[in-house]
Structures are given as C-alpha cells and as structure tokens.
C-alpha cells in the first residue's frame, strides 16, 4: 500500500500532568501495563502498515520513545523517530518532517488513539473517492472530560460528550462541515453554497473526530506551505479543506503532476465521466462532480475536492487518551468491555493475574482487573476494576477500586484507593485514603492522610 504513516505522539501534555513527565511522555503512559503508543502501532501493523514515522516533541522525549520502540518492535517494524520543537502544533510537526514524506497519500494518526477500527478501511475509503482528506469519525465517548465538569456552571447548555459538530451528506460519505474546539459552543454556521450543492446536510453532535486522517500528500503540503498561520491539523487544516471543497484553491499554483492530481482529472473529463460514473455505480454522481460539471459553457473552470469520512461502527472501540478522565476511562475499558484490545488472555475470572504475582490469604481480585508481573499483595485485600502494575508491594487490608496503579508502587496496610491514578514509585503509607486523586511519580503519601479529588505531586 502506497501510504506513509505519521504517528503524532506529542510530548509531555499539560492536560495529563502529573501522570506524565520527560521520563514518561504521553506516548509511553501505560494503559493496562502497555505504553499507549503500542496500541496505535499494533493497530497499524494489523493493516500491514509497518513503515512508520513517529513524531514527538522535544529531544529527550524522542530518546525515550525511540529506546522503547527499538526494544519492542525492532524485529518487525521499520520505525523512525523524529523530534520537533515543542508547541509547533500538529501542522507545524508535519511541516518539520515534510521532507520525509514521499508517498502519494499520508496517513496521520494521533499517538494517543486506542482503537480497533481497521485503518485499512479508512485508507481504502480515501483511495476509492480520490479524496484530499479522509477523517475517521467515531462515536463520542459517553463519559465527559474533566473540563466540562469544572466549567459546567458557566454554560448550562454544554453536555458531556460533545466534542465536534460534524456535517455529513445523506450517504454519510462526505464531510461537509466541521466545527471543533471552541466553535462547538458557538452558533452553527453552514455555508449555503455547500448546502445548495448537496441538498441535505446532516449535522451530528454525537460523532467525534478521532484524529486519524488520510491526506493527499501534495494537497497537505501545499496547504501547510501556503497557510503559514495554520497550527493544527484538526482545527485549521481540516476545516479549511472542508470549507473550500467546492471552490478548491489547492493545486491552483505550481505545476500539478498528472499522476497525483485528482481534481484535475475531475475537471478535464466532462460529461463522459459523469455518464460513465452513472453507468458504473448505477447511482447518482456525487455532488462534487455535478458541481464541477455544472459550468459547461462558462469560461471559468470549477474545482472541487472531496473530503471524506469513515465512520467507525458502534461496535468498534475508539478513544483518545487526551485527558485524565480519558485515561481512567480507557484503562477501565481495555480491561473491561474492550478487553480484546489489551492483547492479553483473560482468566476464567475475567481478570489477568501474572503468574509471578503473589496474593495473600483471603485476598480477592475481581473481574476486569489486572495484576502485573512480580507484584505482591498482603492478606485480605480487595481489588475491583483496577490495573496494578509491575513489582508493586501492597500490604494487608488494602482496597483498590476503579484505579490505576503503575509500577513499583508501595502501598501500606489499610489503605483505600478509589478512582485514582497512582504513578510509579509512589509510596502510600498505611491507612492513607485516596479518592479521585492523581498522585505523581515518586510522591509519598503520609500515613493516615485522607485526600479527595486532589492532585498530589512532587514540587
């Protein structure tokens, strides 16, 4: 397949503090005891995409990520790790590595995607329509991100789980409108010209842009080149391409190369193509084609390009690890309802306990739990719906519910952990009670302390 794959793995995201650090960047954050990046890489591998460029922010991060990848995949994949400066945005990252891109189409995927959507199907959709961009859409997750809760008092209309507003044509193949980020909360503005050409637009608020795109390389690079203000693929490049799809500006300048130029093709072949398409598909020609052919006799030539979507089925799992809430949700899902993603085989009790893990007397590990290699638990402990990493030492009478405990964590007797994330090398002294907390790496929670909804991290 003539696709080049770019994985945007980011750097150290502020939204995920205190879970991430230079040593543990976003990409290596463990989900069910595996770096989150491995989910994307293995998803791509399933579609036989083995040639990857992983782009990370910052040199240190590049070293860490590179080391992990060469350890884990050296034998089967060809992965190149490129580092770009911090805060250049996704568009800037692509600009920085543009010289590496040679294939006709580029698949760009966010490194924090945890999904089982067939990437090959997205690529095929892209090719079939000869689109300039194809975006993967998935159902918006039910559980809202933390931001919506905190700012909930301000605007009451905001409902959790509303990320993007997406306009589709009736066949659900083309992307006609997209509002992302702050625009979602504003009034909807639809271009009449597009509505006129299509006749009907369906606006969906229950879909989310999963940040997996197939771009036509020539178009992407041209847009990035011409619009130097564009910083983000999702917020700038994609909306721009969607907006200008009936009045394409791309490929107007420079010498378009015949082999890779879909829009030229549409323009040069007139009625005949329309007829042949009708005969071939036995369906109506797409509105793009009708639109471009509508001007026969007029001196100007219309250009249009297609923005397509691939909508993942409701049975597929698709989530992005871009907030702490999402981190909790994804960990829960990967060992729970989307357990096939984890790549582990579950025991009869629907949980995974590593053979080297030691459990004390009367200790129970419920279903949808995971206990990593070499971890020890004392007597009368109870673990429910939680992930516990490697080489943790957990005392007696400890309760862990709906939480993630990373590696080398020490937990004293009679501790209770609920809805929290405990990073590596944390020490919880006995009788500490944590509820909905995030504890940064290496932190020491003093004995008997009781915390609720706090972020605990080393200064």
């Amino acid at each position: 397949m003539d696709f080049q794959v770019v994985v945007l793995a980011g750097g150290v995201s502020k939204k995920l503090l205190p879970l991430v650090s230079k040593e543990l960047p976003n990409a290596l954050l463990p989900v069910a005891n595996r770096p989150v990046l491995s989910y994307v890489v293995e998803l791509l591998e399933l579609s036989n995409l083995k040639d990857l460029i992983v782009v990370v922010e910052g040199k240190d991060v590049a070293l860490n990520v590179g080391a992990w990848i060469s350890g884990a995949y050296a034998d089967r994949l060809h992965v190149e790790v490129a580092s770009v400066p911090e805060d250049v945005g996704t568009a800037g990252a692509i600009r920085a590595i543009a010289h590496h891109l040679t294939a006709k189409d580029i698949l760009i995927v966010s490194g924090d995607l945890v999904s089982d959507v067939p990437v090959g199907a997205v690529a095929a959709t892209h090719r079939r329509h000869d689109a300039v961009v194809t975006a993967l859409l998935c159902n918006a997750p039910i559980s809202g991100p933390l931001e919506s809760v905190s700012s909930g008092g301000k605007d009451k209309t905001k409902k959790p789980g509303r990320y993007d507003l997406i306009g589709l044509d009736p066949t659900k193949q083309f992307l006609l409108h997209i509002a992302t980020g702050a625009e979602v909360e504003k009034d909807l503005r639809i271009q009449k010209s597009i509505l006129r050409a299509v006749g009907q637009i369906e606006i969906r608020a229950d879909l989310m842009d999963a940040h997996l795109y197939a771009f036509k390389r020539s178009v992407l690079l041209e847009v990035l080149d011409q619009k130097s203000a564009f910083q983000s693929l999702k917020h700038d490049v994609l909306p721009y391409l969607v907006r200008s799809q009936l009045k394409s500006e791309v490929l107007l300048n420079g010498t378009p190369q015949a082999e890779e130029n879909g829009t030229e093709k549409v323009n040069s072949q007139s009625n005949q193509q329309m007829i042949s398409q009708i005969l071939a598909n036995a369906s109506e020609p797409t509105f793009h084609l009708r639109h471009t052919l509508g001007t026969i006799g007029s001196d100007s030539v219309r250009r249009a390009h297609k923005c397509c979507v691939y909508i993942s089925g409701s049975s597929k799992y698709c989530a992005r690890l871009n907030s702490i809430q999402a981190y909790n949700d994804i960990n829960r899902d990967v060992i729970g309802e989307a357990s096939h993603l984890s790549g582990y085989s579950f025991s009869a009790h629907n949980n995974i306990i590593h053979p080297t893990a030691e459990l004390g007397a009367k200790t129970t590990v419920g279903p949808h739990c995971m206990l990593g290699e070499g971890s020890q638990m004392g007597d009368k402990c109870s673990v429910k719906r939680s992930v516990i990493g490697r080489h943790c030492r957990i005392g007696a009478n400890v309760k862990v519910v709906n939480s993630v405990v990373m590696n080398h964590v020490t937990i004293g007797d009679f501790c209770s952990i609920q809805g929290s994330v405990i990073c590596s090398n944390v020490q919880l002294q006995e009788r500490a009670i944590l509820k909905d907390c995030q504890v940064g790496a290496g932190f020491v929670v003093t004995s008997g302390s009781e915390q609720k909804g706090e972020v605990l991290a080393k200064k």
Binding site: D187, A197, G199, I203
Partner: protein, 721 residues
Amino acid sequence: MGAPKKSSARVSEDHDELVRVPLQAILIADSFTTKFRPITLERPKVLLPLVNAPMINYTLTWLESAGVEEVFVFCCAHSKQVINYLEKSEWFNQPNFTVTTIESQNSVSAGDALRVIYERNVIHGDFVLVSGDTVSNMSLTQALLEHKERKKKDSNAVMTMVIKRSKTNPAIHQSRLGTDEIFMAIDPDTKQLLYYEDKADYSKGTLHLENSLLADNPSLSLHHDKQDCYIDICSPEVLSLFTDNFDYQHLRRHFVKGLLVDDIMGYKIFVHEICSDYAARIDNFRSYDTVSKDIIHRWTYPLVPDVMNFGNTTTKLERQGIYRASEISQSQSAVVGPFSVIGFGTKIGNNTKILNSVVGEGCKIGSNVHIEGCYIWDNVTIEDGCKLRYGIVCDGVTMKSGSALEPGVVLSFKVVVGKEFVVPTYSQVSLLQQPIEEDSDEELEYADSTSAITSTLDKSDGESDSELSDTHFNPASELGFGGVGYIWPKCEGGHEEEWRHSVAPITEDKILEAVKALEDELELILDGNTLPPSGELKPNSIDSDEDDNDDLRDDFDKEVEETFLRAVHENIQENHLTLEVNSLKLSYNKIAADCAGALFYAMMKYAVDMPHSSAERLTQNVQAVLAKWKKVLTSYLNDMDEQIEVILKFEEMCLESAKEYAPLFAQILHYMYNEDIIEEDAILSWEDEKKEADESDKVFVKQAQTFIQWLKEAPEEDEEE
C-alpha cells in the same frame, strides 16, 4: 373569547373516541400577493383556469376526496365573483361535504383571514389549512394520524407542515415551481421543524443556526432539497395564536418563524414528508406552467382533465397525451402536438401547429398559426399567421393577423393585439392601467393596494362593457394598429426577476449569469476568509462582510454606535451624549455594563474605521478617541463588572469584528489602565476569570501576561515606598 374556545376544543378531544369530529378545512381563496397581475385585477386567482378548470375546483375536489367534510372558503379579493362561482357550481349541494363561504373585504393577509375565522368560532378541532391554488392528490390520513398522535403526547405540537422532496436549482436559487429556495432544519427522529428560512438573503453565504438547536438533539438535518407544499394541518390553537399576535400576517414569514423563535410558549411545528403523492401550490406564472404540465402528464391523477370533467363537457385522452373536448373542428392540415389540451368547441384552421399548449373553450384559431407552450383561455380569437410562444392569453383576447407574442407575455382579458404587432418579451398587457401606488417591497405587497382596487373593480364589473368601449380609442397605438390595451411599464425590481416567474423557459444566458454570480459569491466567502493570527479558527472568519457581525449584535449596540457617531460628527457635547445613551439604556432596559460595552465598541470601531496605515497610527487613533470621550465612557465604569465587560468586549472585537486590534491588545489595555479607564482589580479579576477557560480563549491573557505580571508586582513596590 379565548376561554370558551378552549373548553369547546377540549370537549371535542375528550369525546374523540365516542363522537367523531368532522374534519374541517380552511381554504383561503386569496393569495394576498400580486404575482398574477394584471390578470388578478379582473378575476380572482382561484378562478383562473388551470388546464381548463378553475383552480379552486382542484383544491375542493382534493379536499373532498381526502375526507374533509366541512370547508370554509375565505374570500377577500373579488369575493363576489368567488361566491357567485361557487353558487353556480355544484359544490354547495354535495352530500357529506359542506362548503361555507366567509367574506371579508378588509383583510390584507392570511393572518387577517385567520383572525376573521377565529371570530366566527366555526372551527372546533384540527383543521387543514390550504390556499385555493393548491393542487394535490395526497392522502391526509397518515399526516392527520401523526398530528393527532403528537398532539396527544405534547399539546404544544400545534401544526404539521407537508413537505415534498424537490431539488432546487442551486444556480438560480429557485425550484421548478419558481418559488424561492428554502432552508429548513429538521430533527431527523421527531421530524420537528427547527429552522425555516425562505426569502433567503443571497448576500449571506452562511446559514446561521443557534447553538441551542443542537442542545437537545444529537443530530439535525439541514435541507435545501425540500419544497413547502403549503398544506398545513393545524390545531385550533393556531387560530387563537393569530389573534394573540395581531401582527402575524404571513403564514410562513411571521407565524412559522414566530413560533420557531419564541421559546417561551414552546409551541412546536412538525413536518410530514410525502413521497409519491403530488402536492404543489401555484404561486406564480412559472408554477402555473409547471403544474399545468404535471396535470397533463397525469402526475396529479385523479385530478386530470378526462377524470375531473367539470361542467357539462367531456374531455377524452388520446394518444401521446392529447386531451380533446367535444365539438372541436380541426382542419385536416392542422397539427396538434403531444401533451396538449384543446377545449370544447374550438376551431383550428389550416396548417396551424399547436405544441405543448392548452387551448380553452370556444377559441377560433386561424390558419398558419404557430402556438408553442402557451396557455390560451376561453373565447380567444387568433387570426391567420400569428406566432405565439410561451405566453398566457386570457379570455376574449383577439390577436389580429400576423401578430406575435415573444416568450413570457401575459395578455389579460379582452386585450386586442394589432395587426403584425410583436408584443415584446415578458410584457404584461391589460385593458386596465397599472395601479400606481404599487409597492415593490415584498413585505408590504399585500398591505394596501389589493383590497382597494378590487372593490372598485367589483363595482365596475357590471359596467365594464361601457367602460371598455371608452378605452377602445385611447391606447390604440400601444399595441399596434387596431390594438387595445396597455403594456404595463416594468417596475424596478420586477425587471430583474421577471424571467424567474414567467411561463417562458429560462434562457441559457440567464443561467450562466446566475452561475457566474454563484461563483463570485463563493469567491467572496473564501476571500473574506483570513485567519486570525492565533491560528485558532473562529467561525466568524467565514464572514466577509461586517453587516453580518452587525446582525449578531443587538439593536441596542447599533443604536449606541449610531448615537456615538452622530456625537462625533456633529460635535455634540459629552454630557449630552451621556444623556442620550442614558435614555437608550432605559428604553432598552439595559444595565450600565451594557452601555459601557456598547460605547466602547462604538469608540474602537470608530478608531479602526479612521484611516490608518500602520499599527502605530491605529494606536494613536485609539488614544485620541479614548482621550476625547473618556468621560462618557467612565461614567458607566463605576463598577468592576462594567470594566470587565469592556475588556471582554475588546477581546471579542479582536477576535471578530476588528482583528486589527489583535496584536495591539496588551498595548491598548495598558493605555486604558494609565488613563484610569480600567482599574487594576478589573484586569486581575479578568485574568482570574479566564483561568478556567479553554486554551483558545486565553490568547489575549497570554498577550497581556507581562503587563499583568507588572501589575501584580507593582503594589508591593508601593508598599515599600
């Protein structure tokens, strides 16, 4: 009035299962428009023949077949003619189908009509609301059922509109019926109508939907491919709503939009889409043409000439879609092409060709006449050698030999076209002169002229013969030798649009022109599409014109801005300006923060509108304006909230209406601080407020960070001193 009405409605509902309420319909026999002039000066629109039968017959026949038992025909213009016609016809003595006329001379709109009907207190349950120019064969059962079901669940579901799929030509913004394009937003699950926009403003490239529409629904569909059939199933509340809102005139523009906008009462409108049935309303000459063709092509079955057979004559369908009435005398050498209708007793001469046309009763058509795509009504005389293309020729017209009609001509009653005279394209010819007081403004078109003129006409109906003999001599020259009638001068506005609504096919160059305009429009949208420097795309950047932004601001802001500009240009004193703004504040019921925001907006807008070559110059402009009018502004800035409002307003301007300020934000903020317009506390609490905001909203906080930092450190220094 309201109380007894409601109780009667409730009683009928309660007994729904026991006593069946007869289905009622209101048929409005007046369109309250002037689109069929000059013909409608002499005859009401509902009596105009459509494929040789008056339009109202189609509507009544359909209502009868659809199970309506009681029809109230509301007559306004030419009411006597309508009533006379109905009396003579058999509609008044049908079993199980009562037709009652309601007459009103001083109604100027559908709204008035419904108010009159409400006062009569004749409607007791759900009713069908149609106008007398509707042609349909749809079954109402399903739509009525849906309406009743919804009504049971939600008493606010007052109306169900019937819509039909119909692709509008995107280039010329009109449907095949010649009506304007309509944008609708419909909830795909409940079929609730959420947004309705006809009479679209073409200058605006975007459709603006309020965010709240999406608040309750995960999805909605926007439609441009639906046609409004103007068949509504209404609950009795609709009538009382018209009475409560006495300013509702137009069914769609006022009533539907009024209900959609009003969220206090929470009334809801739903749509019912028909797929295979036919429904269309004759709104203008183009839809007259389209619907006539649809009838001839039998899309409206059973409403077709050979089945309907009004009056005594029978019409037979022959091969190739030719309909012939009896007693036609046609020369051997004459040709009647496919899809034509020839009326009773018409004579056709040698070598005459009739293509795609409808010819009425008792017409005399000479030899060597060529008729194509025309609608020729009754008792028309066409002498030898005439050429008629795409025109409407009313009763009693005479075309002298050798005369011709160019496409799109309308000849009203009894006009005589002189020998060899060629009537120019799109002309409207009548024996009556064009009413002078015509208001070309669509909004007011039904407001004044109609009723006044019609009443005089009704009077003159009896004596028209004598009047006509007078006119014989005067305008003779305007239609050639021996011609009688006035060619109406084209009013401005109408000139541009005449091709849209005429029966003539739209010429290719018009379409090309429209396509060109469309492209320019697209270009405009993209040109105005500069991105804010932050790279965060704002939806407003799609707008190219400032008007759009103005629309978003409310009237108060505009009013303040105008007041301010007047003060600047006329050198009005500061305290007078303050007085004026105060009075605006009271009349719009605003608070001081609103005034401060609006005034500040006006000032900054004024500053940015002054010529400036560089950012520096712009800063100087701002400083000059602010220095001069500082007092007015600060009089509204007593409170911290008001100052924050100003900062927020400024931020908003930088993002949307005046992006030139974006790079100068911190600088101007600092200046305002120095000038004591804004106090430190306000700036700090503004920053505080923004802490929770999205990254994208923080652009300006970041820009002003050094200044804020300085502010925070400054007080410590003060203490030291």
